[in-house]
């Protein structure tokens, strides 16, 4: 058969070291592994999103990915004009027809991170920093808080929303603020701004949780564990199904049971071995459905 052509539309820049970059690299990786042809558009503002999706469909791309929940609606509109094209909404909520949605089990990973953080925390206070209250990031934060409390029933998680995904300085200030409130394990979940938060945590000698990739490689003294939402793995799986023509209009949610897509990263030495094995047990319980992370 002819090559499957895949396109991804990114709302931000592909070098944000975060959500957008993960999406871009995910498609790139999957395309290489599976031998697909791929294209991308970055920094596509909201008003241009429907046209970007439609244009790729017209150009003969058979899988078009909208990278982010804001594509849900645009995809829904465009999809019925192109019945032969499969659309995927990353972090979408409403599958159906030729629209699939793909997301991660944010609460579950958040729970595990929260549990580890709660065990490591000396002050009993954790910190979560998001940019905007999008559903998945709220879920992630809630999971984190729940896990934290599971590890430390008297504990508490401070939450801050910076209202900006990329403002590094604000990211840093938010972290410093939480630290000055007594939080000592911070979990930032923005885009570029994460770097600022980690910087702040590092300066104050506190601990942090990484997101999307194994952040300990860049922040060896600061990051104790990372919630790896591996777009590469997820998209590889998803596009693999697409290549075999099995992509359906349903929700593909990758959680701890699909470690290629969602898993925990490397522990730093700051996390005692006992805690590590407790966490492993927690993961198993979540997989088995014994813990409600929501």
């Amino acid at each position: 058969a002819e090559n499957l052509k895949v396109a991804i539309v990114l709302p931000g820049v592909k070098t944000d070291k975060s959500f957008n970059q993960a999406g871009y690299e995910g498609v790139e990786h999957a395309a290489k592994e599976l031998g697909l042809e791929f294209a991308y558009s970055e920094k596509v503002a909201q008003p241009d999103q429907p046209e970007a999706l439609a244009d790729y469909a017209r150009r003969g791309y058979s899988v078009v990915i909208g990278h982010g929940g804001e594509f849900q609606d645009s995809v829904a509109k465009v999809a019925n004009r192109f019945p032969d094209t499969k659309f995927v909404v990353v972090n979408g909520t409403e599958p159906g027809g030729n629209v699939a949605v793909m997301s991660f089990d944010f609460p579950a990973l958040g729970y595990v991170m929260g549990y580890v953080a709660g065990k490591v925390s000396e002050t009993g206070k954790g910190g979560y920093i998001g940019a905007q209250k999008l559903k998945f990031y709220v879920d992630l934060g809630n999971g984190y808080a729940k896990g934290f409390k599971a590890a430390r029933p008297d504990g508490e998680v401070l939450t801050a929303w910076t209202n900006d995904w990329d403002d590094v300085a604000k990211g840093k200030e938010a972290a410093l603020n939480e630290i000055s409130q007594g939080a000592d394990v911070i979990f930032p979940s923005m885009d570029n701004a994460v770097v600022g938060s980690l910087q702040g945590v590092k300066e104050k000698g506190k601990k942090a949780i990484g997101i999307y990739y194994d952040a300990i490689s860049n922040w060896p003294d600061t990051v104790i564990q990372s919630a790896i939402f591996d777009m590469r793995g997820a998209l590889l799986t998803l596009l693999g199904e697409a290549k075999e023509g099995k992509l359906e209009g349903k929700a593909y949610i990758y959680g701890l049971e699909t470690p290629t897509a969602a898993r925990i990263g490397t522990y730093s030495a700051a996390v005692p071995a006992a805690v590590q094995s407790e966490a492993a047990a927690i993961i198993e319980k979540i997989k088995a459905g014994e813990i409600d992370v929501h």
Binding site: K17, K133, W161, N163, D166, V168, A169, N177, N192, Q199
Partner: protein, 312 residues
């Protein structure tokens, strides 16, 4: 409020205020200089970004923060030359030039950053570390906030009075003020309008660039695309709020940073109030301050206009 009672928390709070205000102060001083000379420098945003990019590149390539500072200043200087050439030399509309330069700088810095910094973009760059000033830094609350800072913050302390002195106490400053208000009069007494305007614009951009340098070399130690994130616009607002007077502009920047820091704080105490409402606080506060305290503020009269000699 709970945090107010506790000294170390207070120090943290004011440190936050200072950190948030420093890049804006740099840019706003640049804005004062350009606008006093009659040029509306909308490209401050681009200058901050360009300075940040230059700082990152310099620090990355040369491995020292001083190298970063030099590169940052050079990059902002180059932007200043472009703006001066276009807006002062050719007399192209200052707003359009500024906005176009912002777009260009955003594209170009991202493009070059991908080219030069590439995969190393996440790693921490060398930066300045705080220098404690003996004695002064041991003053309670104020000491650790003001006198345990990085070199660029000290530079800012110097620049504010320096800018004031320059504008109001030197013949050059007099020339600048005259040019911004009634360039014809300045021209007829032999003051070179385009020359001084060009110098002011370039200096203004360099100041904006210093704001960018501070972001990279003293605050976050990485470069990220579009990391200026609207600070240039806030600086412009501060220039007007401070009535084109360096000292008042400094106060306006501090006021702004204070409300920003306050809103970040307030969020923790009131997690149930939507954060967007808090995000509005600095802007609403500035708005209220403006309406409450500003009388009729007259901008330099010749702002935004091209000066052509001759004509009746």
């Amino acid at each position: 409020m709970s945090w107010a009672g506790d000294i170390s928390s207070l120090v943290d709070f004011f440190s936050t205020v200072l950190r948030l205000s420093t890049p804006i102060v740099f840019a706003a001083l640049g804005g004062v200089l350009a606008e006093r000379a009659g040029v509306f420098n909308v490209s401050l945003e681009g200058c901050i970004l360009g300075g940040a990019f230059g700082a990152a590149t310099g620090a990355y390539l040369l491995g020292t923060p001083v190298g970063g500072l030099v590169f940052g200043i050079l990059f902002a200087f180059a932007i200043g030359c472009v703006l001066a050439g276009l807006a002062v030399g050719l007399g192209i509309n200052q707003l359009v030039t500024g906005i176009a330069i912002n777009i260009l700088v955003l594209g170009l810095t991202s493009y070059l950053a991908r080219l030069i910094l590439g995969a190393d973009a996440t790693s921490t760059l060398p930066g300045f570390s705080p220098v404690e000033i003996p004695l002064l830094s041991s003053i309670p609350v104020i000491g650790p906030v003001l006198f345990n800072q990085d070199p660029l913050a000290y530079l800012m302390y110097l620049l504010v009075p320096l800018a004031y002195w320059f504008l109001y106490r030197t013949p050059w400053g007099l020339n600048v003020r005259a040019i911004g208000d009634y360039p014809v009069a300045a021209d007829t007494v032999g003051v070179s309008v385009p020359g001084i305007r060009a110098v002011c614009v370039i200096a203004s951009c360099v100041l904006g660039g210093l704001g960018g340098c501070y972001l990279v070399l003293c605050q976050v130690f990485v470069f990220t695309e579009n990391m200026s994130a609207g600070k240039g616009w806030i600086a412009l607002a501060a220039v007007i709020l401070g009535r084109w007077n360096p000292a008042l502009v400094f106060v306006a920047c501090i006021f702004f940073a204070f409300s920003e820091a306050l809103q970040l704080r307030l969020q923790f105490n009131n997690p149930d109030v939507p954060y967007q409402l808090f995000s509005m606080v600095p802007f609403v506060a500035s708005f209220v301050a403006l309406v409450a305290f500003a009388g009729r503020v007259r901008p330099p009269a010749a702002i935004g206009t091209k000066y052509v000699r001759g004509g009746k």
